[in-house]
């Protein structure tokens, strides 16, 4: 179950407003007996692009899912822009966040999924305008204008009225990226967004993401096996193993001269497969 923050449960952890965009404070996540995240601490600065690498099952995707509040944490606190995400303030205490609180907090966060998860019952334009109209309260015209801008950016201006099933995987994923951006998130979570794509479709999606990285100041958390892409767009790389960060640093250093044996082995294995 969802426990209250900290071991004693009633004191507000310090340093909630250190200027960070994302902050994990001793976060624990378990699935049954399996500890996925083991007292994890890390921070991400506003506008920073951080790539999480590591073997599967090392907890990378779980971090994104915790941030998107698709999973609940078992212990610790997640902060977004100095506000608790996993919890809400009640006087000086932190209590587990209510659904209502989560809905407000989620608005600054967008996520792109491995399996796209576009709504098959809506066309592309409807996919892009549903949340801006019904969550942000924008007018339909305003939402459509913004959607057209985004579709132009992802190179799919001619697909407004297409349905997701009529698009290739790469096109679907670009629509999904546009859909996430239509909410003007401050944080964009990219969960293995090219893993479900045929190899020849990967480049288009990565180009779009590179452009977003160049032209916006959105904070990005990226889980990927595309090491060249990670190297190009990230400011920092975190190497995970068994729910802990084993090494972190700028991409050039991590990829060229990893200090940890585990990082070296992981990179050898991934690069051998490329």
């Amino acid at each position: 179950m969802h426990k209250e923050a900290g071991a004693d449960g009633d004191s507000l952890p310090a340093a909630s407003s250190d200027g960070s965009m994302i902050r994990f404070d001793s976060v624990v996540k378990r699935f049954g007996d399996h500890v996925v995240l083991d007292h994890l601490d890390f921070t991400v600065a506003p506008g920073e692009r951080v790539t999480l690498i590591g073997p599967s099952g090392s907890g990378k995707t779980t971090i994104l899912r915790l941030l998107m509040t698709l999973e609940k944490i078992d212990d610790g606190v997640v902060w977004v822009k100095g506000e608790p995400l996993s919890h809400e303030r009640k006087g000086t205490r932190l209590v587990p966040a209510s659904e209502r609180y989560l809905r407000t907090m989620r608005r600054s966060i967008g996520m792109v999924f491995q399996q796209f998860n576009l709504f098959p019952n809506m066309n592309v334009m409807e996919n892009l305008t549903e949340a801006p109209v019904h969550v942000l309260g924008r007018s339909k015209a305003e939402a459509r204008d913004r959607a057209r801008e985004l579709l132009a950016m992802v190179g799919l201006s001619d697909k407004e009225t297409a349905h997701p099933t009529q698009l290739s995987g790469g096109q679907q994923q670009r629509v999904a990226i546009a859909r996430a951006l239509a909410m003007d998130p401050e944080i964009l979570l990219l969960d293995e967004v090219t893993s479900a794509l045929d190899p020849e479709l990967v480049a288009d999606v990565l180009d779009v993401l590179r452009r977003i990285a160049e032209t916006t100041d959105i904070t990005m958390l990226i889980v990927t096996h595309e090491m060249h892409f990670a190297r190009d767009v990230s400011d920092r790389v975190l190497m995970f193993d068994r729910g802990r960060i084993v090494e972190e640093g700028p991409p050039e250093r991590i990829f060229t001269s990893p200090r940890e044996e585990r990082t070296r082995k992981f990179l050898d294995a991934v690069l051998a497969g490329e």
Binding site: M68, L70, R106, R107, G110, N117, L118, M122
Partner: protein, 214 residues
């Protein structure tokens, strides 16, 4: 009842039967609407309500499913004399079938991939929008054929309304037979009319099934 068919008697019976069929059709259509709407409400409520209430709701649903339609008709008919027999018939048929339809909807809802729910959460959609704009359109689409089959089934259960003296088609046929001591023609015709009405419906259901596939 002798087996000697008279076309004249058949012709005499037909208008009476068609008058009864009007009631049959009315009960079917309105009963189906009640069942389709209520079934949907039950299916959504089971997933949205707190556990205690959801369990209580499931118990009521089970109770209705495990008792005979005829008993329910008679029970409500005598319990609520202020309503007409037809009103009661439509309500009870609708409620009875809503319990089956709730199961059908549930299967449809369960078949919507988990990623759809997650995308809704990631976009901060309210529970209302999540159901209305994303989950139900996909769920209902999947189960339209199954709902259609229950519509045919409900249609064939309308003769039970005779127990609360609603003169639907089969009751009309029986009354005609009793007046003339000849049951062959009216009952045969009633059966044929059921068949003629059911068959196109089932064809329609099958066509819908193909058209609605993504």
């Amino acid at each position: 009842m002798t087996v000697d068919w008279s076309w004249q008697r058949a012709a005499d019976a037909l208008p009476v039967l068609l008058e009864g069929f009007r009631i049959t059709l009315l009960a079917t259509v309105l009963g189906f609407v009640v069942a389709a709407v209520l079934g949907l409400v039950v299916a959504v409520a089971r997933r949205s309500l707190p556990k205690v209430l959801a369990t209580a709701l499931s118990a009521v649903v089970q109770f209705i499913r495990l008792t005979p339609l005829v008993v329910q008709l008679l029970f409500v008919y005598y319990l609520l004399p202020q309503f007409s027999a037809l009103q009661i018939g439509i309500a009870v048929l609708g409620i009875h079938y809503s319990t089956y339809m709730a199961e059908v909807y549930r299967a449809g809802i369960d078949a919507v991939p988990k990623g759809q729910w997650e995308a809704c959460r990631a976009l901060s959609l309210s529970p209302m929008r999540t159901w209305r704009a994303v989950i139900l359109p996909q769920a209902v689409r999947r189960v339209v054929p199954a709902l259609g089959n229950y519509a045919v089934s409900l249609f064939k259960d309308t003769p039970f309304l005779f127990t609360i003296s609603v003169v639907e088609m089969v009751t009309a046929a029986q009354q005609f037979g009793a007046r003339n001591f000849q049951y062959l023609e009216p009952l045969t015709l009633a059966g044929l009319i059921f068949l003629i009405a059911s068959y196109p419906t089932s064809l329609l259901v099958r066509r819908l099934e193909r058209r609605l596939a993504y």
